[in-house]
Amino acid sequence: MATRTVTVQRPAPMDAPQGVVRSGAAVLKGMWIASRHFWRNFWGFVRGKPTVFTVQYPEERLQQPPAFRGMPVLVQMENGKERCVACGLCEWACPTDCITIYPAETDDEIERYPRVFDIDMSRCMFCGLCEEACPEEAIVMSHRVEIAAFSRRGTVWHKEDLLVPLRELETTRFPHIRRTYESPAAE
């Protein structure tokens, strides 16, 4: 067994009189640590290479990885229509039942489409199980999270609100999903 137990080293007790000296030293040490953070950031600011951890939202945003899970959206194809065929798998998979689909049929090449596709964002827990269940790559997790609203009605997203052009998603979440195609498990 490669694990072993160690007993943690307790710092020496702070008894007087050394304790008094060490307490004073501890205060100085604390000031030193805090001021080091300050000077580091200040020096970065002076050199024009900021090291400050703070993100100046909304002017500045974090670079998000492809795996980022924001709100689920519907993929919009070049012809402006949704890719969804209203099979209802995402509705099944959703643990919170926040998706509502009414399917309908048309004369297009893909004959089934969702007449109604609503997601109640105030219930959605952004887990991504809908995306995983979808057999058409039609519902994906986007990079959008800024969706606060003033009323409950404003948090229910209809099909028109949910459609996002394929182009935008190609650069965000798709690289993450498509990675699994080439993963060794796909052999």
Partner: protein, 570 residues
């Protein structure tokens, strides 16, 4: 692996006439007993030298509606000396759901039995204080019974609803009530449920004599949100996001425990690379959890700067989780039969870079705290409890290790690939709050070491089990092959269907033993999904730890227990 046959034959030998049946399914030893003999057998289990089951992990119940007798009490035991486990079961009828209480033997059975009473209406004979723990007194019925509809809500009792709301003066039912030293009346103080110094919703009702705590009653349940009921109403895979929300500061560990329990039901094992990825994710989660604990402790002891450093370090740990699975807090990363995605490109470099900064920040926070006289005075020698007493309470994890007990499931019963890794398990020497703090600090550094080793050792290969019965086929195949498309539909609409049976599987989470007890009836939904959560058992001794101490000692003690609301109240 301990020898279950030997264990079961010893038990059969010791109390032959009380045992109805024994079995050994998937490595879990089970003994079914006559309910009226429970106390007697439990005493043998605890006191026999060869059995020595000193840790009562869990008490729960399964409702077999329509069968006679209807309720099955389930007890899980662990022996810290022999490192073996046992499940004890006894059935009681619906007409008289009564069984002996185990509180005389394990003091930690108190809350567990109260919970079982609350959720199933089982009465425990000889329990000192049998009242509801999660729900309120006015609640009618027992929600985890199968005939209680999941969405049946009861009227809100309070000023926001109809009816008059009168805050009831809480009563402290304690046997050890001490009269005030000066003969003066004790002062009753309520700490919580929304208190700035307790990161979690808990109410502590205190009787104070001056500033000394004479009596304390810890009231939990303000965050009870029906984890078990939600899991039982969905498919196996739909429970994974709910496990995130158990211990939300280390969600991946909770995922790992649940998925491994389901895999144990199936009897499958994840490919090696998948196991590595799980360990990496889990350990990063553990880092985030310990950072939160350290930072929150500093904050609540009024040290704001180390809190900011810890938060900054936690952001960096979360960046790694974000790169791994796209979420920061509720990761939903692990899947039954694998993980949701393999490591992203450049993950090792990102880890290296972030760990370097995390270690710097932790060193800064540590440097500010450990020599600080105020911090030391509030941590050193505070809330010491003997290891035996902690074990009787069912405490596990850093809290128990700080008292010097070598119990880390990663070492005691290595799961995943922990037996191939090289790490230290820190132990404390005195068991006070300072030791607890130091144990967490050391564990954090060890977790970083584990992740670095994993990144070095990780083999190529698949991360998922290629079995359509439990893991969705890869997307690329779903688009191109009819067979996989059908598998996808089948798995999503029917759920993975493990064979009937029951298992208990535990991992070492950031706060201690996190176990899942699953009962499968062969359908796609778990018949019973029980989480044995460490925070619940760890919070229980709080009242005893602070009794006789000063009011101010509650805060550091509560912080070092690191009670996580979602995990404690489920």
């Amino acid at each position: 692996m301990p020898n279950n046959d030997r264990l079961l034959s010893i038990i059969r030998g010791r109390c032959a006439e009380a045992v109805i049946r024994t079995d050994d399914y998937r490595g879990d030893a089970t003994v079914v007993i006559r309910p009226e003999r429970l106390l007697e057998i439990a005493r043998v289990l605890r006191d026999d030298r060869e059995l020595a089951f000193d840790l009562l992990l869990d008490v729960t119940c399964v409702d077999y509606l329509g069968q006679q007798p209807r309720f099955e009490l389930v007890y899980h035991f662990y022996s810290t000396r022999h490192r073996h486990r046992l499940r004890l079961k006894a059935r009681v009828p619906e007409s008289d759901p009564t069984i002996d209480s185990l509180v005389p033997l394990w003091v930690g059975a108190n809350w567990l039995e109260r919970e079982t009473y609350d959720m199933y209406g089982i009465c425990f004979r000889g329990h000192p204080d049998l009242r509801r723990i999660y729900l309120y007194e006015e609640f009618e019925g027992h929600p985890l019974r199968k005939d209680y509809p999941k969405e049946k809500r009861q009227p809100l009792i309070g000023p926001g609803s109809k009816g008059t709301y009168k805050p009831r003066p809480p009563e402290i039912p304690h046997a050890h009530r001490v009269e005030g030293m000066l003969g003066a009346e004790l002062m009753r103080v309520q700490l919580g449920p929304s208190h700035p110094a307790t990161h979690g919703t808990v109410r502590i009702v205190l009787d104070l004599d001056g500033e000394t705590i004479v009596n304390a009653d810890v009231e939990i349940g303000y965050l009870h949100r029906g984890f078990e009921k939600e899991c039982e109403s969905g498919f196996y895979y739909q429970a994974i996001p709910y496990t995130d929300r158990l211990n939300y500061s280390s969600a991946i560990l909770c995922n790992v425990g649940y998925c491994m329990a389901v895999e144990k039901l199936f009897g499958v094992e994840v490919p090696l690379r998948g196991q590595f990825v799980r360990v990496i994710g889990g350990e990063i989660s553990r880092i985030a959890d310990h950072l939160l604990c350290i930072g929150a402790t500093a904050l609540e002891l009024n040290a704001f700067t180390p809190f900011l450093y810890a938060l900054e370090a936690r952001e960096l740990a979360w960046d790694l989780i974000n790169a791994l699975c796209g979420a920061r807090v509720t990761s939903n990363f692990v899947r039954i039969g694998g993980v949701s995605a393999d490591l992203p490109e450049g993950f090792a470099e990102l880890c290296q870079q972030n760990f370097k900064r995390i270690l710097e920040l932790v060193a800064d926070a540590e440097g500010m705290l450990l020599e600080n006289p105020v911090f030391r005075a509030r941590m050193e020698g505070v809330s010491i409890m003997s290891p035996e007493r902690l074990i009787a309470y069912g405490v596990t994890g850093p809290l128990l290790r700080a008292a010097g007990v070598d119990l880390d499931l990663r070492r005691a019963e290595p799961y995943l690939i922990y037996d191939q890794l090289d790490f230290d398990v820190p132990l404390g020497s005195q068991g006070d709050n300072l030791d607890r703090f130091l144990v967490r600090l050391t564990e954090l550094r060890q977790s970083i070491r584990i992740v670095e080793q994993c990144l070095r050792l990780i083999p190529p290969g698949p991360v998922d089990v290629d079995d359509p019965a439990l893991r969705l086929p890869p997307k690329g195949r779903v688009f191109n092959r009819m067979e996989d498309m059908i598998n996808q539909f089948k798995l999503v609409t029917e759920g993975p269907k493990p064979p009937p049976g029951e298992v208990y599987f535990a991992i070492e989470s950031a706060n201690g033993e996190l176990g899942y007890y699953l009962v499968s009836d062969g359908t796609g939904k778990p018949y019973k999904c029980r989480a044995r959560t460490p925070s619940f058992s760890n919070t229980q001794p709080l009242a005893e730890m602070v009794r006789g101490r000063l009011l101010a000692d509650i805060v550091p003690t509560f912080d070092m227990i690191n009670m996580i609301g979602g995990e404690c109240d489920r």
